[in-house]
């Protein structure tokens, strides 16, 4: 196994996870990089699936350490006014507003529920989620179902069609 190839495969999902957790691109990059640094620094060995769980677990702990920052950011987000209607095309403004709502819905969940929901989105099995988050494997389904329902409810009614439309718009 080649480290560069490993990095190229695992950095993007780790960055995405950290970015979804923190809402901050620079922080996400720092956290993902710190996890890889520790992997090398501590000489952790093993097969890729095990290393992936290790990296996500370290990143999860790092994010938890920054919980205070997150709480501050949450307060700031809640206090943010709606986007300024003057600059930028309407679609981009709308996308930003939806992203803000998604972020707020995510932050309504407990940190552990966020972690579990986002790890599942990254394709982690229930067993891997249990290992990474530190819960009993048998409780993952129930905890995930609860997180999923809360998050989905927090998104509001209009999310589905709107997000689909906005994503298509962005990808064109």
């Amino acid at each position: 196994m080649d480290f560069d190839a490993l990095f190229d495969r695992l950095y993007p999902p780790l960055f995405r996870y950290c970015h979804r957790m923190t809402g901050d691109r620079d922080q996400a990059d720092d956290l993902a990089q710190e996890a890889f640094f520790r992997l090398l620094d501590r000489g952790v060995q093993g097969e890729e699936p095990g290393l992936k769980v290790w990296l996500f677990r370290v990143a999860t702990n790092l994010v938890r350490d920054r919980a205070r920052t997150r709480e501050t950011r949450r307060r700031l987000l809640s206090a943010l006014p709606p986007p300024d209607p003057v600059p930028g095309p309407d679609r981009e403004m709308e996308r930003q507003e939806r992203a803000r709502q998604v972020r707020l819905a995510l932050e309504e969940l407990s940190p552990r529920d966020q972690e579990m929901l986002l790890l599942r989105q990254e394709g982690f099995s229930y067993k891997e989620i249990a290992d990474a988050v530190g819960v009993a494997p048998g409780s993952v389904g129930t905890m995930l179902a609860r997180a999923l329902r809360r998050f989905s409810e927090g998104l509001g009614e209009g999310e589905t069609a709107q997000s689909e439309e906005l994503r298509n718009e962005t990808s064109r």
Binding site: Y11, R20, G50, N61, A99, A130, D131, A132, T160
Partner: protein, 276 residues
């Protein structure tokens, strides 16, 4: 059967159930309209959640991040200060593992040896020391790194938990020896002891036969299940945040528990010492 709860239905939808359980749920869902509605609700929640989360995503700066990581590695060859003894110990986990590998290489079929053989260079960044000078069993072409010798007299081995649990057993420890259990924030567990220690691993289990001298155990703080045993006697058991200490405590702090090795009974894990 009774109506399955949300967790079971979700596990069914996400194909996380064992075959027998899945068949049972499938049969129930086919005949139960109320649970069918639950399935539809969870499916919708899964779909809209996945779609919504993509709105938060940004392009990952992969290439730049790799370059920064390499630069950072290049600037961190020497041990750093300011992090107490966690850093050297953790560093030791990576480096002295290879010494342990050299020792256990004499054990036919040793999982530690196989692990090291497979992992050699697997996650080694350019310039990362692979082995200390004079390490027995070093592969050809291994690079010596004389500037990094944090714990030259210790060996160690680490492993990742299996299904959220680990068992760590240390054998042949002279009674009365201090065994330090470090509660770590990291994901892997480990045993660190003197030169000549022999290690054996299997899924979720690590055993060490240590020569006289200090022994250190590294244990992830929040691991759902963990057992630490010395001389065949369980001295510590952990279930998430709950920790039960059965051994004699010499001293205890926030991040470590120092126990006195019992005389031993040859109890639950008294595997024969690896020869070599």
């Amino acid at each position: 059967m009774r109506h399955p709860d949300d967790g079971l239905i979700l596990a069914f939808l996400e194909e996380e159930l064992a075959t027998g359980e899945e068949a049972e749920i499938r049969a129930h869902l086919a005949a139960c309209a109320a649970c069918g509605a639950e399935v539809d609700g969870l499916k919708r929640a899964l779909e809209r959640s996945a779609r919504a989360l993509t709105l938060l995503d940004a392009e990952p700066p992969t290439r730049e991040a790799r370059a920064r990581l390499e630069a950072r590695r290049a600037g961190n060859r020497k041990p750093r200060g300011g992090r107490g003894w966690w850093l050297p110990l953790s560093r030791a986990a990576g480096i002295v593992l290879l010494l342990a590998g050299g020792a256990s290489a004499a054990v036919p079929g040793s999982p530690v040896r196989e692990w090291i053989a497979r992992g050699w260079g697997a996650v080694r960044a350019p310039g990362t020391p692979a082995v200390l000078e004079g390490t027995p069993g070093a592969p050809e072409g291994a690079v010596a790194a004389p500037e990094v010798q944090p714990f030259p007299f210790e060996t160690g081995a680490t492993l990742l938990p299996e299904a959220g649990g680990v068992e760590l057993w240390i054998h042949e420890v002279p009674p009365g020896t201090e065994v330090t259990v470090l509660l770590s924030e990291e994901g892997q567990a480990g045993i660190f002891a003197g030169t000549g220690t022999r290690y054996r691993t299997e899924a979720g289990k690590l055993e060490a036969w240590a020569p006289p001298g200090a022994v250190r155990v590294e244990l992830p703080r929040d691991l759902p299940r963990a057992v630490v045993g010395v001389n065949g006697v369980v001295v510590l058991r952990q279930a998430g945040a709950q920790r039960e200490i059965m051994g004699v405590v010499v001293r205890q702090g926030a991040g470590e528990i120092v126990l006195r090795a019992p005389s031993g009974t040859g109890g639950s894990s008294n595997a024969p010492r690896p020869q070599g």
